[in-house]
Symmetry: none
Subunit: 224 residues, 2 copies
């Protein structure tokens, strides 16, 4: 495992965290430890959460919607409760997994891997767009065609990154103008036309009949 991943462990029971903290560290994770919801709410910078439901200052499940309000990081719930309704409740609130005590360390580690793997897959998917010989890497901001790196102007770059953020989705003229130029430019459609034209000159094989950067007449533009 290359770089360290930080987990947030929300757990008040010393019997559990005195066992988990060294075990997780030994398997290459950095761990932030919160003993109650107040501490948990102040934490940040973690890649996923391991949440015990039985906390001193309130029901641990309150933390799930709170976190979901601003974050999509995976949440793995630990609980001694056997009731199916508890599981369903937590999962519906936005948790990603629910593990009943007593659990095996190997299973916990495997389920942590699953959650991290899923988000890694999602991020890979979201960050690279490919169509024909054109490759757009939104993570690095690199655009290449037939292996050769294309140099784009700032506006061309901003336009293309925006379009590549949701390939296939139609962006209206006003959306593009507001995002790239600013809210005051939403009526200057001709700017858009010119810069779309310049983009096409760089990344289309035949700029006169675009295959990748497509016009939606009267509406806007989209990537194939």
């Amino acid at each position: 495992m290359s770089q360290q991943v930080t987990l947030l462990l929300v757990e008040d029971d010393p019997g559990v965290y005195q066992f988990l903290l060294p075990a997780l560290s030994a398997h290459g994770y950095r761990v932030q430890h919160a003993r109650d919801l107040a501490q948990a709410r102040e934490a940040n910078g973690f890649a996923m959460v391991i949440l015990d439901l039985g906390l001193p200052d309130g029901q641990g499940e309150q933390f799930i919607p709170h976190l979901r309000g601003f974050s999509d990081v995976p949440i793995l719930v630990l609980s001694a409760r056997q009731d199916e309704l508890d599981k369903v409740h937590c999962l519906n609130l936005g948790a990603d997994d629910y593990l009943m005590k007593p659990f095996g360390l190997q299973e916990l580690l495997a389920r942590i891997q699953v959650a991290l793997r899923r988000t890694a897959i999602m991020q890979m998917r979201d960050h690279v767009y490919q169509h024909q010989s054109l490759v757009i890497n939104r993570a690095t901001g690199m655009v290449s065609k037939q292996g050769a790196i294309l140099h784009l102007s700032p506006i061309e770059h901003a336009l293309l990154m925006l379009l590549a953020s949701k390939p296939g989705t139609i962006f209206t003229h006003s959306q593009l103008l507001a995002q790239v130029w600013g809210p005051d430019y939403i009526d200057d459609t001709h700017y858009l036309r010119i810069h779309i034209g310049r983009l096409r000159a760089k990344l289309e094989d035949q700029p006169s009949s675009p295959q990748t950067l497509l016009t939606e007449l009267g509406i806007g533009y989209r990537l194939a």
Copy 2:
């Protein structure tokens, strides 16, 4: 109803699938059913897999790396085996979840939701309208028929998106005219007729007897 999500259920035990097939259908999923690995390998077009480990023609877990060779769809494993090593093995092979028999239907449904939520398919669900071979994706603004993308004019596009925002609901003439053309046009019903006609020419198989874009005589129009 919006677009159905298709699940692949790999299960040979009649006692299980005779219970699961109707239950999953009742909760809005389309289900492909494979009784063994050979059938499972031939399936396609599913959004996630529910995989029973005890199959007649081999260990079910063989299917996990096979599928992972070309697909990232979520895999939820069902098994009667209680051994932690089995769980860890499957999860490390690429499964996303592991549910032990006997399990509750509500928990299974919740865990299916979690998996679909993670792959963002759930988000598409409410934004996609499907009827026969016509698919309207309101998130991307794309309209396709039998897989081929339809090109719509701005007015056609606005009309259809409005109708698709509440499929089944009747939109009155004045509502449609006010939304698409503007408040000053609420009496120009003939505009509506012309553009509804043009829409039908593009998206109905037999425009003379519409199956999707329906007339409510004297009131307005609606999607089937």
